[in-house]
Symmetry: C2
Subunit: 612 residues, 2 copies
């Protein structure tokens, strides 16, 4: 019996995974689409690498949400599928996995599903490929193996079979009887068998309670509603937090207790039992401050990006670099970077780090009052001679947040502390800071979101998982209403590596292609993106060839949502900071999370090549 | 509105938790029973520490499984409860939490529950204490807040009220309507309100699938049954592993791939698709080998335990220390300790470490053949002049497993390599090694259990969670049928600290009191156990006072299961190793896991005092 393993089961870049699988004696692999997209090797190179290692490619998983959709949607899916079948052939694989649809467009119509899967199999056959249809346990309409099999049976197509997956089957069965239907499927119609086990406890309310509780406002419960109801009974005892949480058990008690109290203050405010100063929502990002022992690498990067050193602080070794409304302070007078609460033992990272953020505030003192009421450490106002007294607090990750009013005649202006230089920005490519991405210490992801939400009055978006070659990141953005303040909070999957995670500053441009070209012409180095990524773009979106070639050339990534289009590319990393150039069109709201695994893999590859 | 926090929500020893809660501005705390038991402070000291910090003690949580049980069981519960009410009074608290029973003895009888809770409240009132009854979401018969309230209402006792907990309520409600019943409870009968939030995703099959899959045999699914059914259809494609797992994503690919292949080999064997050499179950522990740069601290400890240096290796700097059938090798010729696969960045620990285990085997060569077939690295047989050729393999954590036959005339004897000294063991306190506890690197807990199960033919017991002051450990024992080989595999909650976790050797004695006394008389230092622990023992078990005094004096811990009684105590730690003296009576099967949090806290306290 041949054995195989999906590349998603192993850690590292694709080549490390393939080597490990071969060394362990597997006969073949399933290539997971993200691993292919993130790999610098083309399909033929992957095929020949596998052949050298004695591995067959038994399955390729490039498609989801194919079937039981309206005709025009299916036509798009079929067009994409043909590209993927071609790719499958180039890989030397003969089976493509199609999971049952989770798309909101999918309808509950087995006949339509069978008809479209049959058409898909027709196309597959032209490329010498067959299609294995699998029921996802959370498929929208098809979520059991026997349902998927009924559809395959109805289609009656030789190039269409089913794929059985032990997780999807056993996670939904209540006993062995539910498996009796397997005996009704002819073996030759089972095109593939995927195996995984899982702990039973993860679904259990006891385990949920013992390991995953969090402070009110950090989870998904409407705790405020419950508290309102209890207070309405006349209850006058304490509000008491009882939280069993694996992460809190390891985090330093002092900061956790502060987070806990903040959560209760926010809750008390929500139920009308406490009056706090109103939130003052920031209206923009005044500046981002980098600290670095050596200003040169950052200065070179900023110069290539079109920034000019427009001013220097009157009393401190701080330069202001500006372009449009984007301002970056480069501070060589401070050594310390923000640290996680408990030393993680990771390699210390020298070089530039993002230490402070200036937030435009219509009422800086009010913003600081609310922050203080919500237990944010208030930082000493900088009262050196000539320094404007700035209100500042520390975020949970140690980042300093300054509440500023740039150019408001009624308020002290932080820019008054700076002596202008003769320089003017050369190229008006950058309009402003689009967003900042701040890496949170492992213990503080949920706290950080609650902090930014409650203290700054920002709104938290959904948390998304992003696969890095060596682990899973979580990312959650907090924004104000018009998107002029966007902060992406990110955390690694384990406490070991948070100091290694990069922070970044995303710069908004109206023309990312021009900005990237100018950056490169000025000697800047863009992050190279694997060709497989752009091949996939061609399959996913109907983009003209020359546009794709431009993206390929510049390493520009592309995403679309219901509102608009997002194009973005990245500089190389200096210290722990890199820059992103982003162009948002038509009101695109996201951050290109879909592309993040490719970016992360590309950054790992560069680090590997340069050893840094 | 007063605010409070349960000590279980924070990390560290009790005093650190109290200080953190006070600093953050909480008005009070709930004292969690384990925190009290593990604290060196007595109840009055805790009370006065809280008073100094400006904290009230709002709740004490000492009891579970009280109500709706047979009369004789309830009499025992009431006796225990009186002790706890007395303790509550000493703490200066006025409310005790009683959670709805999860005991298999509990019956579904609201009238009985009300009657017994009323009797409990009668007793509480004598101590000036009141009882708050709460429905656990996983309570055996009572698991909703309205059910708990109906019972409280039926009891109609002034010292009995209900406690509402947002987790237990919201984890079971499908919408706000389910909360309407709260309005029917008079506020003065709500004695307490506990708050926690929780992520909704932990219950979702999609999240389960994306984060918690594992290799076959590492989880709870009957994957073999599924595979048998699929093979019966005539399926002849590959068995392919598709595992999404947050931990594997971070673990080095090579060893993960080997674990994956081993899991498939075991699965193939189970379904009759592969023939492997039969497992050769070990029949005892021949020796445990410590490596240490400095033999003196270990030698002093072994001497005080009654071991004698009975032999020395003919060619290597290895001493054999023996007592009864317990043999410990002390090796000063090797520097390396087993390492986790990926350096965790924790502080390197010098000093003694457990590097190898000798397993008595009826067929050492056969055992090695099976290990090799299951991809365990086979170690070079020691073929120095005069060395018996021993079969040895490496366990996933790097521990070397030697397959030996001590004193079997048909087989080479490892003892032949040792030159006896004139020493004989002085005190025959120790009979043999009862069990070994091996700390596993973070990535390898499930792999380690599968390895020991499949390679050595041992049986894996249930995994248990054990609270350490700074995190949650998991522990799982693997044993042979007669219990002559027991290995407890333990793992920390995070990758940072595995090198700091101690390993230990548990020594079986027929009289732990005599052994502990002799150890102390010989200058050995036992781990001191907090007095609160023994006060609780008095409440839980009907032990004579002088017996309790003895346990108190020697730091002996006590446990009971359906089969018998377990008494055990600990030496101080040398390097990363300590010894445990254990007395099993009447077929007790466990390892005193109930007592592990107290032991871990005591070890943290000692380390804190001595700085090491």
């Amino acid at each position: 019996m041949r054995t195989s393993i999906a590349t998603v089961s192993l850690s590292g870049p694709l080549t490390e995974k393939l080597t490990a699988a071969a060394r362990a004696g597997f006969d073949g692999v399933e290539i997971f689409e993200n691993d292919l997209l993130a790999s610098p090797l083309g399909p033929e190179e992957i095929r020949s690498r596998c052949a050298d290692l004695g591995l067959s490619i038994d399955l390729y998983q490039p498609m989801r949400d194919v079937e039981a959709v309206p005709p025009e949607e299916f036509a798009r899916n079929l067009r994409r599928a043909r590209r993927k079948f071609e790719l499958t052939r180039r890989l030397g694989a003969d089976t493509v996995l199609v999971c049952s649809s989770v798309s909101p467009l999918a309808v509950d119509d087995d006949a339509l599903a069978a008809e479209q899967l049959s058409a898909l199999a027709d196309a597959a056959r032209e490329y010498g490929v067959r299609v294995a249809y699998e029921a996802l346990a959370w498929g929208r309409h098809v979520n059991t193996y026997d349902h998927a099999w009924r559809i395959v049976q109805a289609a009656g197509h030789p190039a269409l079979g089913t794929c059985l997956d032990s997780f999807h089957i056993l996670s939904r069965t209540s006993g062995p009887k539910d498996l009796d239907g397997i005996a009704d499927i002819p073996g030759e119609k089972i095109f593939f068998l995927q195996l995984a086990d899982a702990p039973l406890l993860a679904m259990d309310v006891l385990q949920w309670s013992r390991h995953y509780r969090c402070f009110p406002g950090q989870g998904g419960f409407d705790v405020a509603d419950l508290v309102r109801r209890v207070l309405a009974t006349g209850y006058d005892g304490p509000l008491s937090l009882e939280v069993f949480n694996d992460v809190f058990r390891q985090a330093e008690a002092g900061p956790t207790a502060v987070d806990a109290r903040r959560s209760l203050l926010v809750l008390q405010e929500a139920v009308g039992a406490a009056a706090l100063p109103e939130p003052v929502v920031p209206t923009g990002i005044a500046f981002a401050e980098l600290v670095t022992p050596d200003p040169e690498p950052v200065a070179a990067l900023l110069t290539a990006l079109g920034f000019a050193r427009t001013a220097r602080h009157r009393g401190k070794p701080v330069d202001l670099w500006q372009q449009g409304e984007a301002r970056v302070l480069v501070n060589t007078g401070r050594a310390a970077l923000p640290h996680s609460r408990r030393p993680s033992g990771g390699t210390p990272v020298d070089g530039a780090g993002l230490a402070a953020v200036g937030l435009e505030s219509p009422d800086p003192a009010g913003a600081a009052r609310r922050a203080e009421a919500l237990l944010a450490p208030v930082l000493p106002r900088r009262r050196a001679t000539g320094d404007a007294p700035l209100d500042a607090v520390a975020a949970p990750d140690g980042t300093e947040l300054f509440f500023c009013a740039t150019g408001d005649p009624r308020l002290p202006d932080w820019l008054d502390d700076f002596e202008p230089t003769a320089h003017e920005p050369a190229a008006p490519d950058i309009r402003r800071i689009d967003h900042l991405a701040l890496t949170q210490p492992w213990h503080q992801f949920d706290e950080a979101a609650l902090f930014h939400r409650s203290v700054l009055g920002l709104r938290a978006q959904e948390s998304v998982d992003v696969a890095d070659p060596y682990g899973l990141l979580r990312s959650r953005a907090v924004t104000n209403d018009d998107g002029s303040v966007r902060i992406a909070l990110t955390v690694g999957a384990a406490p070991t590596d948070d100091t290694l995670r990069a922070q970044h500053i995303a710069l908004a441009t109206d023309d990312v292609v021009a900005a990237a070209r100018r950056f490169r012409a000025a000697g800047g180095r863009l992050l190279p993106v694997p060709a497989n990524y752009h091949d996939d773009l061609a399959a996913r979106f109907d983009l003209p060839d020359e546009e794709l070639d431009t993206y390929r050339d510049l390493g520009i990534l592309y995403d679309r949502d219901a509102h608009g289009v997002f194009r973005h590319c990245y500089t190389r990393t200096v210290g722990r900071v890199f820059f992103e150039l982003v162009q948002r069109d038509g009101g695109y709201r996201g951050y290109g999370a879909q592309n993040a695994p490719v970016r992360l893999a590309a950054q790992h590859a560069v680090r590997h090549l340069t050893g840094g």
